[in-house]
């Protein structure tokens, strides 16, 4: 059985090689911008680019809006299904899985045909309308993860008892959701939020077809025109993804505290 363990190490080593090599290579490449040696000039050039700042903050704002809208849609629905309509659960869960089944490019193609300027709801006719459509598209992309995060949070608390207790104390349904349920699932909600942010921040397909200058579209432009800056951008995106995932891991450590029931 000693050899089995050796094989495990070999497999792990090969896997680690495949996954770490591109990261190393990208970092090395991003430092190669000057002939005389390694410098961080590619990063300086990216960070001082006005379009980087504009597109990144635009993506961040749309992402935060998508998280807020997503929560407003998902939390009441997940709460209602868990508390009063468990028989609707298969249908609701199937709907939340749809964005994994329907590719993003199909979704945005559908939007372009449905919300064009000659439609009853011409969201694409105005800038604000397009921003709203982009936000809602990101809500759709994040729906599977957001619903699951919230539902997992609800599973760890005693929704029934909390609701009854709040009812007896005279709270109405909105108060129950906002002041009782939401604070109890905040950790789960935050991990859903960070996941949404990680997905949205580099998204390209939808934004590009809606002609929005998001971070992903900016990256694509830089990739088509520059040599070393794209590598720097890849390193930056990896750090952002790592940060968002790290936050989720960190939050998971706090989760048992809210979940404890005596």
């Amino acid at each position: 059985m000693k050899s089995g363990r050796l094989w495990s190490w070999i497999i792990f080593g090969l896997g680690a090689g495949y996954f770490l090599l591109p990261l190393l290579a990208t970092f090395e490449f991003s430092l190669r911008i000057r002939r005389e040696g390694y410098t961080f000039d590619a990063y300086t050039s990216v960070f001082s680019d006005g379009r980087f700042q504009a597109s990144f903050s635009y993506s961040l704002i749309i992402g935060i809006c998508a998280i807020i809208v997503g929560l407003l849609i998902v939390v009441p629905a997940a709460y209602y299904v868990r508390l009063r309509a468990p028989h609707l659960r298969p249908i609701i869960e199937f709907i939340t899985l749809l964005p994994l089944i329907i590719p993003a490019i199909i979704l945005v193609f559908g939007y372009i045909r449905m919300y064009n300027t000659s439609s009853p709801l011409p969201l694409l006719g105005t800038n604000v309308g397009t921003d709203i459509l982009l936000t809602l598209a990101y809500v759709a992309l994040a729906l599977p993860y957001m619903y699951r995060a919230v539902d997992t949070g609800l599973r760890t608390i005693d929704v029934q008892t909390l609701t009854e207790a709040a009812n007896i104390l005279g709270a109405n349904q909105a108060t129950i959701i906002v002041q009782v349920i939401f604070p109890n699932i905040i950790v789960a909600v935050l991990s859903g939020a960070f996941l949404t942010l990680a997905i949205v921040i580099g998204e390209f397909t939808i934004a590009s077809l809606l002609n929005r200058q998001v971070f992903g579209v900016y990256m694509q432009n830089v990739g088509a025109n520059r040599a070393f800056e794209p590598a720097a951008l890849a390193v930056i995106s990896f750090v952002i993804t790592w940060g968002a995932m790290g936050m989720i891991q960190l939050l998971a450590r706090f989760a048992p505290k809210t979940a404890r029931r005596d």
Partner: protein, 312 residues
């Protein structure tokens, strides 16, 4: 993306029809018991799902069967049979299948190594965390990373040339079928690890001990117990990975521009500028994509339902 694991969780999926049975004969009886608060709670979700998921997609399906003036036609579907479109479907299917099969196989081996290979616990948690990051590290930056690694000036290419091996003269090209497949593996393998890890955890230690007591070798354990138990999860995840790769566009677009004509890139160009010179054909192309990804997911659901039936 740890939440993806619940996609493979039998208790979470749409096929778990258990609770619905409790309602009795009429599944719509709840309507009579609806209160205003309930409607307000569920309405935003339903309206959102209708306006931004279901109707736009159905609109495309209907559009695939309409000609320019809105009459029913099958011409768009027939027109999908042009060599250009068939070739793009073929390369898409090949890249998705190759990256799904390799991703599932390699992911399974790595997951087995870290979970059952008696490696330190710290390695397992590091791999799981890294998988969460890597499965989300897709799109444009992933293409940049592989250009910096295996592109003509990439680190690996340069190092290999340094030791006397010219990767590109040997026939490799990052902007090709294999280049794209290797790149896709960067998010396919971690996704597989994330989804299959809970299933491997479900293989009870006692089973291995019982098999060993009865004289089974390690190979026999996997042949007759391990793999049959994991099989539904493996096939299910395989179709999930296939759909995942089939719909992906950003990585391929940033990597190859439009030199590798996979279906999503063709559809992207069609939406952008009607390169096929027929708006209805775009909808038919979209329908083709929906059919293939839906088919992959239905396989997954059917396999899982059958697996559950056996477990009962």
């Amino acid at each position: 993306m740890t939440n993806v694991s619940s996609v493979a969780d039998p208790s979470a999926g749409p096929v778990s029809t258990g609770p619905a049975v409790r309602v009795g004969g009429n599944p719509f009886r709840f309507i009579s018991r609806l209160r205003l608060g309930d409607i307000i709670a569920i309405a935003p979700f339903i309206i959102f799902a209708l306006l931004f998921l279901l109707i736009p997609t159905l609109g495309l399906v209907v559009g695939a069967f309409q000609d320019g003036s809105g009459n029913f036609t099958l011409q768009n579907i027939i027109d999908l049979g042009t060599p250009q479109i068939l070739a793009s479907f073929w390369i898409s299917i090949r890249v998705s299948a190759a990256s799904a099969i390799l991703g599932a196989g390699i992911g399974l081996v790595i997951a087995l190594a870290i979970i059952r290979g008696r490696l330190p616990q710290a390695i397992r948690s590091t791999v799981m965390t890294f998988s969460g990051v890597a499965s989300n590290f897709a799109g444009i930056p992933l293409a940049f990373a592989f250009l910096a690694t295996l592109g003509r000036l990439g680190l690996v290419t340069v190092l290999l040339k340094f030791v006397g091996f010219d990767l590109y003269k040997s026939g490799f090209n990052l902007l090709s079928f294999w280049g794209l497949t290797i790149t896709y593996l960067y998010f396919q393998i971690p996704l597989m690890i994330l989804i299959i890890a809970p299933a491997i955890d479900g293989l009870k230690k006692e089973w291995g001990e019982a098999a060993a007591t009865l004289g089974a070798t390690n190979g026999q354990f996997w042949r007759y117990i391990g793999l049959p138990v994991l099989w539904p999860n493996l096939l299910g995840t395989l179709s999930l990975l296939f759909a995942n790769a089939f719909g992906a566009i950003a990585t391929a677009y940033a990597l190859t521009g439009s030199s590798l004509n996979i279906v999503p890139i063709l559809l992207y160009a069609q939406i952008r500028g009607d390169v096929l010179h027929n708006p209805g054909l775009g909808a038919a192309l979209a329908l083709g994509m929906i059919v293939i990804t839906a088919f992959a997911n239905i396989i997954y659901l059917v396999i899982r339902t059958r697996a559950e039936r056996w477990l009962k």
